[in-house]
């Protein structure tokens, strides 16, 4: 792209505000990169030239008149294709969805526009946001491999530098999985922080909307724009602290981090384990106190997660399941079918298990005086597109289970969780570090993540990039 859009939002925003570069130039470069790289990456389902240029021109006109266009002035972003954008269909990665354009913007899109963001296009999602591979999207580090999912197009677009940030959704890890596999940061905030109206649901009580971006600080800037109560989504919280920008010069003295032991071994690729342990050492060197912790209730995570998703997903998609089940991928269809046939007692048992997990997490933080807990974002790097399972030194694990096992706990507890790149395996595939904080402590985990990001200083430019 010549001028890179990989820089932090604050840096690019400053250049646009000072009119060193126009928003229109930035948008044109982002659009050109999208057109050039999309045949390889399949990150976008829609590239919106007209809308992006209009938004960029508006920013430039405002700046020319001395008007502040907003905190994301001229920043190119992508929006996952489960989120309504007026004038474009919301296809949800499914042939069952209508081509009829959405009449209105989802509140999160409205907020992006009001903040001056330039929406470059809609990004590929795994079908119905229910999966971890996002076909046909590819990973910019190796196009034979998956970008993760379900927000795989968003991960690929940001990692390749096509957009500076993108919106994803996260029901069991769908922001953090592509962030981890594509080498970007990704933030799933506290449940209820970001309104979900105008966004297709997978599982109402587990769904979150959040950003993927190059750095934790960038994620916080986007989240600050999209978060806040909205009357159209009664689950959004009121009365919570704003997202503060993590000050880069701050160290980590006074920060106490728990490392959840079960995710250190044995179900983990050796290179991922090495990168994770090295990242923990970097955080300790920055002044954090690190302690091992264990939460036995995490045994229940997968059973509870999949029961809730199958029941809630089935309820949301019931009409489609009854009228045209053949239009849904067989694995997703099977999951939803069990949800429709599920006894009420099963759903309530899963809710009871969820509450048990949530209380155990809270107790772990309280008893150990923790600021955050750490895990590898995922136990394995990006899978080949034809790969069904991983072979660890002592056991194997299906790809879908591997990618959800470490991320789903934060969906069940509702606490914020951030993925930040923490190295590479020997073949050059990115590895992620997950930082999970207390409810509404997004700024705290972003500060930890940003401190790590700056100390580690990884080169995160993939072979396929703008």
């Amino acid at each position: 792209m010549g001028m890179s859009s990989r820089g932090a939002i604050a840096d690019l925003g400053r250049r646009i505000r000072s009119r060193e570069v126009s928003a229109r130039e930035v948008a044109d470069r982002s659009l050109a990169a999208a057109e050039e790289l999309n045949p390889m990456l399949q990150a976008f389902v829609i590239i919106d030239h007209q809308g992006a240029r209009q938004a960029a021109d508006r920013v430039d006109r405002q700046l020319a008149r001395g008007i502040d266009p907003g905190p994301l002035a001229g920043i190119p972003v992508g929006v996952k294709d489960i989120v309504d954008m007026a004038g474009h269909p919301t296809r949800c990665g499914s042939p069952a969805y209508s081509e009829t354009p959405a009449a209105t913007d989802a509140p999160v899109v409205e907020r992006l526009r009001e903040a001056g963001a330039v929406i470059v296009g809609k990004t590929v999602t795994h079908e119905l946001a229910c999966g971890v591979t996002s076909p046909p999207a590819s990973n910019p580090w190796d196009t034979e491999r998956v970008p993760g999912g379900s927000s795989g197009g968003s991960g690929a677009a940001v990692a390749a530098g096509i957009t500076v940030a993108a919106l994803g959704s996260d029901t069991g890890g769908s922001i953090r999985i592509p962030a981890g596999l594509c080498g970007t940061a990704g933030l799933k905030g506290t449940y209820g922080r970001v309104p979900r109206s105008g966004v297709a649901a997978l599982s109402w009580s587990l769904d979150h909307i959040g950003p993927l971006a190059a750095t934790p600080a960038d994620c916080i800037l986007v989240q600050a724009v999209i978060s806040g109560h909205d009357p159209s989504d009664p689950t959004t919280l009121t009365d919570f602290p704003p997202d503060g920008y993590p000050e880069p010069e701050e160290g980590l003295e006074g920060v106490r981090l728990g490392v959840i032991e079960r995710y250190r071994h044995p179900l983990i690729q050796p290179a991922v384990a090495e990168a994770f342990e090295a990242a923990v050492r970097v955080l300790a060197d920055l002044g954090a106190e690190v302690v091992p912790v264990e939460i036995s209730e995490l045994d229940l995570v997968m059973e509870v997660e999949f029961t809730l998703v199958s029941a809630e997903g089935a309820a949301y998609h019931r009409d489609l399941m009854v009228e045209a089940p053949h239009l849904i991928d067989p694995a997703i269809r099977g999951l939803f079918a069990t949800g429709l046939m599920m006894p009420t007692e099963h759903y309530l048992t899963a809710l009871r298990g969820r509450e048990r997990i949530r209380r155990a997490m809270r107790a772990c933080f309280a008893e150990n005086g923790l600021t955050a807990v750490l895990t590898p974002t995922l136990p394995a790097v990006a899978a080949r597109k034809d790969q069904d399972s991983f072979d660890y030194p002592t056991a194997g694990e299906e790809v879908i289970l591997a990618y959800v096992r470490t991320t789903a706990p934060a969906n069940l507890t509702g606490q914020p969780a951030l993925s930040v790149p923490c190295g590479f395996d020997p073949s050059g595939l990115p590895i992620g570090l997950q930082i999970m904080g207390r409810p509404l402590a997004e700024t705290e985990i972003a500060r930890i993540g940003q401190a790590y990001h700056q100390a580690a200083n990884w080169d995160l430019t993939p072979p396929i990039s703008a």
Partner: protein
Amino acid sequence: MSAFQSDQVGDMLSAAGMDPRDWDLAELAEVLDAQWSQIESVRARLAQTDEPALRFNPRWE
């Protein structure tokens, strides 16, 4: 061998408003087996005092 017979799965689908002819009943029986055994393992870990949060609240206060 599934704990669910095909005709039983078909009846369950019908009761849920779906057409059994749209489905591979044997395959679905296996998925049901897995899910029902999963929830059994959750139930085994719960105490009578574990109540569901019917309206999820993420706050810890």
